[in-house]
Amino acid sequence: MDIFVQQLFNGIILGSIYALIALGYTMVYGILGLINFAHGEVVMIGAMVTITLLRILVEMNTGLPAAALVALAITTALPLCALLGFTLERVAYRPLRNAPRLSPLITAIGLSIILQNLAMIIWGRNYAPFPPILDTTPWKILGAAITPLQVVIVILAVAIMAGLWLLIGRTRKGRAMRAVAQNPNAARLMGVNVDGIISLTFVLGSSLGCIAGVMVAANYGQAHATMGFMLGLKAFAAAVLGGIGNLAGAMIGGLLLGLIESFGAGYIGDLTGGFLGSQYQDVFAFLVLILVLVFRPSGLMGERVAERA
């Protein structure tokens, strides 16, 4: 029972982070039909920049509470990531908008490698520790441990997703985003600046990714120049699981993948009689990806992937 609750908590924490990242993939795919494989690197850069800033802030001995320091660091990292997302689209994807679908895909993978290496040049090959300023004494709930930080992560992720949901579902800009995703030329005829909406999509997705990156770094106490790769792939798997291009799908897919991974890792030892251990956690994302692609390529909530692909 204790293990069950613990894995449930872990799954929800992990899942809400995946969901935030998956939203970035799904929003871009919905509007451009493009899989922005560099998105994971935006997440990584969000984490690395925040850690760097935090270290500086801590050294300055400002006397501010830890939460304020983190908030301060994020408010600087966030626009930076937004700008990075904006620039990637402007410089790398926009010129390829009418090119065959393979070209932007290869470009995306190339950008991902470039950003990863750039990060290694800037931050080195070692793990960057998250300054230990956050309270990590766990609370005991139903026999399972959860830290205040983790509670904040989940609440913040849910709040951000609710905000995004309202933005896209209820506002004029959000309506325009959906219109552009469905029929860009018709949207133009309504006076929508389609390029502007596409930029906005990248900015939003990158901002969510940045916050998710910080969450990962804070939760695990460290970040690394290559962390975006696996995170990105997993969040992509989550987006596909939910039905890529579908907002609710990304949220549900993220959460589900978090739960699958966490329960999988928790019970894989028992299931295989100790043959496989929890280090096989990463396998589940790809198992899910393959199963979805084979049995339900449009994902749980998706409609028309086949027509696009």
């Binding site: 004029r172 309506r175 325009a176 959906r178 219109a179 469905q182 029929n183 030329n185 018709a186 949207a187 133009r188 005829l189 309504m190 006076g191 929508v192 600046n193 389609v194």
Partner: protein, 236 residues
Amino acid sequence: MSMLVVNDLAVSYGNINAVQGVSFRVEPGELVALIGANGAGKSSTLNCLAGLLPAKRGDVQLQGQSLNRVPAHDRVAHGMALVPEGRGIFSRLTVLENLQMGAYRRDDKSVVRQELTQVFEMFPRLQERRDQLAGTLSGGEQQMVAIGRALMTKPQLLLLDEPSMGLAPLLVEQIFATVATVAKSGVAILLVEQNAQLALQLSQRAYVMENGRITLEGDSAGLLQDVRVRQAYLGE
């Protein structure tokens, strides 16, 4: 001042010259028809006017202002709206959201609300289905959404590309009656139609397009009697 003046407009797709230098105009409050066979270049002309296709050469002026350098999304703000061939509705937005998209560039909220009411009065069926996804509507209803949405941009010039396409005769009549009403309200209209008979009956003047060129023009009543028109487009 003319509402629309088009001078020597040419459009091509790669090396296919779809429109090869057409000139025409639309006066304020006028309903002008542009008729012609399949592939004559009518849609290419309208799409170019709306800014969706680049002009290879030529000049487009709306109320004396050159549109040559105005991007598609700013042309609505200049008072031009296009109801494209095939309607181009947002199928996964509701009817209401589709209509709201028409008002995307408008800030006069209370006026917009009034006009929304007017559109619903014009198309009561849309009122009943306002919260339904537009993609689930019948073809005729979708055409109403497309026209209603264009009207929500508050156009001074409305470009209509085959609004009767694929509709049952009864609905065609209804759509044309609507077009007549809109024209009466003072909006200038350029109507592209396959149904030459109806288009010529409804319009004051008309142009006939063949292979990317305008081959005939004149007042519609006259063209309706013209032997060449009767043979080529009215099935005689």
